[in-house]
């Protein structure tokens, strides 16, 4: 195995309470002073890449992220888990990665360029979706753009000696097993929850990670290098019309007796 590319995304930490200011319209999600971390599904993808690397000596794991300068921290986490090097496509601070500005189509287009530029990429492992936009589109779009075989919602991945990948994927009714044959194109697989449990970065690995190379390149420069159109990339294909918090759950009513309960149910027309 040669290279495994793992695109990772820096998102609002899953445990944070999201606050929305509707007066700010579609831009109203409060991002200031909010804890950010690596998208949980991306973490699973990094873990899988490292496990595959451990099973296939000589494989190189490259973590890549598109976002503001703080993304380097997210890439360092991937390096501390065991990735070999990082690529940071740096965006200006006001560019929103949570579907407002950058959307899956733009990311997939950039990733296609990087895959072709890197060459020798055998596998692209992505999280099945990001927890801010919940699109689940980047993986499939990338596979389409590359004309590459894909498997989504992977719960188990086995690599064959012939370079094929056998993937068990989650479906609504159970599990489906499909085989991605070696095709000269990288296999594109998106990772689901059951695939693995991501490791904690340990002190020795955190120390090693500081010395691993991270290439930082601005979005503008990368776009130029890949021969793409900056406007095309930054103009979202879909417009977010409104962002609002779900209506608060109405508090239940406590009743004093069974008779009272029956009375209330009759009142609401739920019982004859």
């Amino acid at each position: 195995m040669r290279k495994i590319l793992v695109p990772i995304k820096r998102v609002i930490d899953y445990a944070q309470k999201i606050r929305v200011d509707p007066s700010k319209g579609a831009q109203g999600v409060q991002l200031k002073n909010v804890k950010m971390s690596m998208n949980p599904f991306c973490e699973i993808a990094v873990e899988e890449a490292i496990q595959l690397k451990e099973q296939n000596k000589g494989a190189e794991v490259v973590a890549i992220s598109v976002g503001p300068k703080q993304c380097t921290e997210t890439i360092r986490t991937a390096l501390a888990m065991g990735a070999d090097r990082g690529i940071h496509i740096e965006t200006k601070p006001d560019v929103r990665g949570d579907y407002i500005d950058l959307q899956p189509w733009a990311i997939a287009t950039l990733l296609k360029g990087v895959v072709e530029k890197e060459d020798a990429v055998d596998l692209v492992l992505l999280g099945k979706q990001s927890i801010d936009s919940d699109c689940g589109q980047t993986g499939p779009l990338l596979a389409g753009l590359l004309n590459a075989p894909q498997a989504t919602f992977a719960a188990n991945i086995e690599r064959g000696d012939d370079g094929s990948f056998t993937v068990e994927r989650e479906t609504d009714t159970g599990t489906e097993t499909i085989k991605l044959n070696a095709s000269g194109k990288p296999a594109v697989i998106t990772c689901d929850l059951r695939l693995n449990t991501p490791r904690y970065p340990t002190m020795p690995n955190i120390m090693k990670a500081k010395k691993k190379p991270v290439e930082t390149i601005s979005l503008e420069d990368m776009v130029k290098e890949l021969g793409l159109d900056l406007d095309e990339v930054l103009t979202p294909k879909n417009e977010v019309v409104e962002v609002y918090e779900p209506p608060p759950r109405k508090e239940g009513e406590t009743v004093g007796s069974i008779d009272e309960l029956l009375g209330k149910l009759k009142e609401k027309g739920l019982v004859a």
């Binding site: 002073n33 804890k35 703080q70 340990t202 955190i206």
Partner: protein, 393 residues
């Protein structure tokens, strides 16, 4: 008391939260968080305990180190005395509908003020008073602003002298953002692995790896938490702190939480200590304050004392708020035949409970007893069947 569970208000400028004594601690945390504040008391049982009880027992908790105890954070309270008089000390009752029903008023105030220096600070007698002087019915607690950045690490050390170094270094490198330091010994961690709820299993198996087991090491595990308001600056402080510990070989290894899930797991392991040990067998619990320097000598001395008394098949577990010098020492007696257990328990009781001996045992080591020694429920009922009053006393 559980019906008296109203939260009156949280003053947005002073941060003082006023509520009934029957409020569940977790609900106070949730309410304060909504308003951008942090309730300063945090203990493992927060899902079920009531603040009135916490105040009456002067509960310490995980963040005693950072925010101080209830003697400092409780700014006002209402208590009902034995003769029925209601004593109000700096607590705002303007929202309490039952205000006018009370015909006996010893003292009356109309606001939960952040600072009240008038007269004797009588409320201090009720904090930790265990209900002996009056029942706490309302409290006013000063809450700090909610920190927006939290970092948690679990460190592995080979000896207690390394732990002492961590305590020093953390104050230097983390300084004002240091919010908790907790210690868990190997015996406790093994019980958590065996009897815990499963939270943090993955991490525990790395901590108690077969390699470490084979090397016959008894590592000590230290949880370090920082809370501040600037994630970038706090992360870089935490990074400098861990790097300095690792490079000086003070720690053998360390695990840094990367996201909320890791933070929950690491704290989950710490909070599993008590329930896990309770499931391991019959437990004798000691909650003591010790000179920080001598913290781990406790386990050794207790083990020695037990051996000298010919009590075998006992595991001494130590965990607790090491930065406060507060240790939870638990002597676990394995599952064996009931009679043998009872006899053992009786001897432990006599060894450690008999006041003179206990005070003697503690006094020479400069310990103080924070909580009474007690035997688990099963133990008491067994003891009753086997021991006469004279024998026990």
């Amino acid at each position: 008391m559980e019906y008296m569970n109203r939260i009156y208000k949280l003053d947005e400028y002073s941060g003082v939260l006023t509520c009934d004594a029957g409020c569940i601690l977790q609900s106070l945390h949730d309410y304060a968080e909504e308003k951008g504040y942090l309730f300063p008391l945090d203990i493992g049982s927060k899902g079920t305990c009531q603040i009135g009880g916490n105040v009456s027992t002067n509960a310490g908790g995980h963040h005693f180190f950072r925010f101080g105890g209830l003697h400092g954070t409780v700014v006002g309270m209402e208590v009902v005395l034995a003769d029925g008089r209601v004593l109000r000390m700096n607590v705002d009752v303007s929202d309490d509908d039952n205000n006018d029903d009370c015909t006996h008023r010893f003292q009356q105030s109309s606001a939960s003020l952040r600072k009240d220096n008038t007269g004797y600070d009588l409320k201090q007698l009720f904090i930790g008073g265990e209900g002996t002087l009056g029942i706490v019915t309302k409290v006013a607690v000063a809450c700090p602003a909610l920190p927006t950045s939290k970092n948690v690490a679990l460190l592995v050390c080979n000896s207690y002298s390394d732990v002492l170094q961590i305590l020093k270094t953390s104050k230097e490198e983390l300084g004002e953002i240091l919010s908790a330091i907790e210690l868990i010994d190997s015996n406790t961690m093994k019980f958590v692995q065996k009897y815990g709820s499963g939270i943090g299993d993955h991490l525990i198996s790395e901590l108690l790896s077969p390699e470490a087991e084979a090397a016959d090491k008894q590592p000590l595990f230290i949880l370090v938490e920082s809370q501040g308001c600037d994630q970038e600056s706090d992360s870089s402080k935490m990074d400098a702190f861990l790097t300095s510990l690792y490079e000086s070989s003070t720690i053998e290894n360390g695990f840094l939480a990367q996201d909320s899930k890791h933070i929950e797991e690491i704290w989950g392991i710490r909070e599993s200590c008590n329930p896990s040990v309770a499931r391991a067998g019959y437990v004798h619990k000691f909650d003591v304050s010790i000179r920080i320097e001598a913290y781990m000598e406790v386990a050794e001395e207790v083990s020695d004392a037990l051996e000298n008394a010919n009590l075998s098949d006992l595991t001494v577990c130590v965990w607790g708020h090491v930065a406060d010098g507060n240790a939870h020492i638990n002597i676990v007696s394995g599952q064996c035949d009931k009679d043998a257990v009872v006899q053992k328990q009786l001897k432990i009781c006599i060894l450690f409970s008999y006041e003179e001996k206990w005070l003697d045992f503690c006094g020479t080591r400069h310990w103080t007893i924070e909580a009474q020694v007690h035997v688990t429920n099963q133990g008491w009922s067994c003891l009753g069947a086997h021991v006469t009053d004279e024998e026990f006393i």
